[in-house]
């Protein structure tokens, strides 16, 4: 899966967690929590959804690393999701 596809799927997942968000305005290198009204439960739901959507089996030690679009793509590439 190339970067564009990963970004698109991450944003789709994010949109399901925060349906009111304007996904076109998301800055890839800025943390989601700094540009959206996400709380810890949203973040947990988001990481669980990534885990399920990508079949990524995200280890607990990586939990805090899905903070921005760029970070998500980097982490998912590292986890070699298909």
């Amino acid at each position: 899966m190339n970067r564009e596809e990963l970004e698109s799927r991450v944003l789709k997942t994010l949109g399901e967690i925060a349906p009111e968000a304007d996904l076109t305005a998301i800055k890839p290198n800025v943390s989601f929590r700094d540009q959206m009204d996400l709380d810890s439960m949203d973040y947990l739901n988001f990481v669980i959804a990534l885990d399920e959507d990508f079949g990524a089996e995200i280890p607990e030690s990586e939990y805090t690393k899905f903070t921005s679009l760029d970070a998500c793509v980097e982490q998912l590439q590292r986890l070699e999701v298909t």
């Binding site: 349906p19 439960m41 739901n45 995200i58 607990e60």
Partner: protein, 381 residues
């Protein structure tokens, strides 16, 4: 016979609109079954029934706005919880509908129920005005058109709902400040041990089973309430009404603005995993607008955690008729002096807003001290 009434889903609620019946007359119902959806200022709420029996009769039609306490249906508590026996098509049904008695063939009645056709609006072409299946079929198209116009939209505009919710919050908070003599206490809780324990605990779990620290706070408050029951209840009829069950109302902000504080039932009796699972479900359903009536009516105290908004300390407003609210601010790093030595630690400010009619500052202080103590032994929560 028991009346199923429009529930009061909050101190400020005076009326609700019945959106849809989810059960039909003749259906067996059990305590906890969701039998209707009601539109309130807090969204569309699934309303549960609190008795076992058979739904005998619907008294209010979908679309009607009625005051709190209005009987919506009759439930026969002695009714058999058994399969419905449908009359044969040859038999004529004369079940009453409202005040009238209509002559309707069973087949026509069944079809009308299925299609949502009000039989009182159907002209019967059979002998003596008996309504037949073909009469219902003829009326269907017209009824469908009427439903589109008359039935309230399932989802009202966000702006309208936000406005209604603001008015609802305004009414409750104004009442609180008008009627409740608040007193406020605050303390700083060392969270170092609790957070270290939680980190260790989470490291053994999959992400799906992760526990958020807010669950520790909720459980600590619930256990402290067991020790100080006067903070778990309501002030009604000029006296404190203690409530046995500890149902913490958890303040949840809504994305479109406003907040709801639905109850986490029996918070004190749940393990951390169960509590986390239920909290996650409650937050998700609150934001999706699918709360149940008991979750809006059963809270015995409110806990609000504004730490994620970088707030240091919360000075809460009690949600009437409750008598207390516990607030938590953000977790921050600090230095403590322990046995003469400096030690870095993580802290949180806990506050109590309490009704001075129901309790005094001395007991309030002990309540906060209990919360603090309980958080020092997270493995026992």
């Amino acid at each position: 016979m028991a009346e199923f009434k429009m529930p009061k889903l909050g101190a400020d609620m005076t009326a609700g609109t019945l959106i849809e019946w989810l059960k039909e007359p003749g259906d067996s119902v059990k305590r906890g079954d969701i039998i209707a959806e009601v539109d309130t200022d807090k969204g569309i709420i699934e309303v549960e029934v609190f008795v076992d029996g058979v739904l005998e009769k619907l008294l209010i039609e979908a679309g009607a706005e009625v005051p709190v306490g209005t009987a919506l249906a009759i439930i026969n508590e002695n009714g058999k919880l058994a399969e419905k026996v449908e009359p044969t098509d040859a038999q004529e049904s004369e079940r009453p509908i409202g005040e009238e008695r209509l002559r309707v063939s069973p087949s026509a009645r069944k079809l009308a129920e299925k299609l949502g056709v009000d039989l009182r609006t159907v002209t019967g072409s059979g002998k003596g005005g008996r309504i037949q299946r073909k009469d219902v079929e003829l009326a269907t198209q017209e009824v469908q058109l009427e439903k589109v116009e008359a039935k309230p939209e399932k989802t009202k505009s966000e702006t309208e709902r936000f406005s209604r919710m603001r008015r609802s919050i305004a009414a409750a908070m104004a009442r609180s400040k008008r009627e409740i003599p608040h007193y406020y206490l605050g303390t700083t809780v060392d969270m170092t041990r609790a957070l270290e324990w939680l980190e260790e605990e989470n490291s053994k779990r999959s992400i799906k089973n992760r526990i958020l620290y807010s669950v520790l706070l909720l459980k600590a408050v619930a256990l402290a309430l067991q020790e100080m029951p006067e903070f778990n209840g309501t002030w009604e009829n000029d006296e404190l009404q203690l409530v046995k069950n500890i149902n913490i109302g958890t303040a949840i902000s809504l994305r479109q603005g406003g907040l709801v504080a639905p109850a986490l039932h029996d918070t004190n009796e749940r393990g951390l995993d169960d509590l986390m699972k239920n909290l996650r479900d409650l937050v998700n359903r609150t934001r999706a607008g699918t709360l149940r009536s008991s979750e809006l009516s059963d809270s015995t105290i409110t806990v609000t955690n504004l730490g994620e908004q970088s707030v240091e300390t919360v000075f809460g407003v009690i949600y009437p008729p409750q008598v207390a609210l516990v607030g938590f601010g953000k977790i921050y790093e600090d230095v403590s002096v322990i046995e003469g030595k400096m030690k870095a630690c993580q802290k949180i400010n806990a506050s109590l807003a309490a009704d001075h009619r129901a309790s005094d500052g001395h007991r309030g202080a002990k309540f906060l001290a209990s919360i603090e103590r309980l958080l020092q032994e997270p493995e026992k929560l």
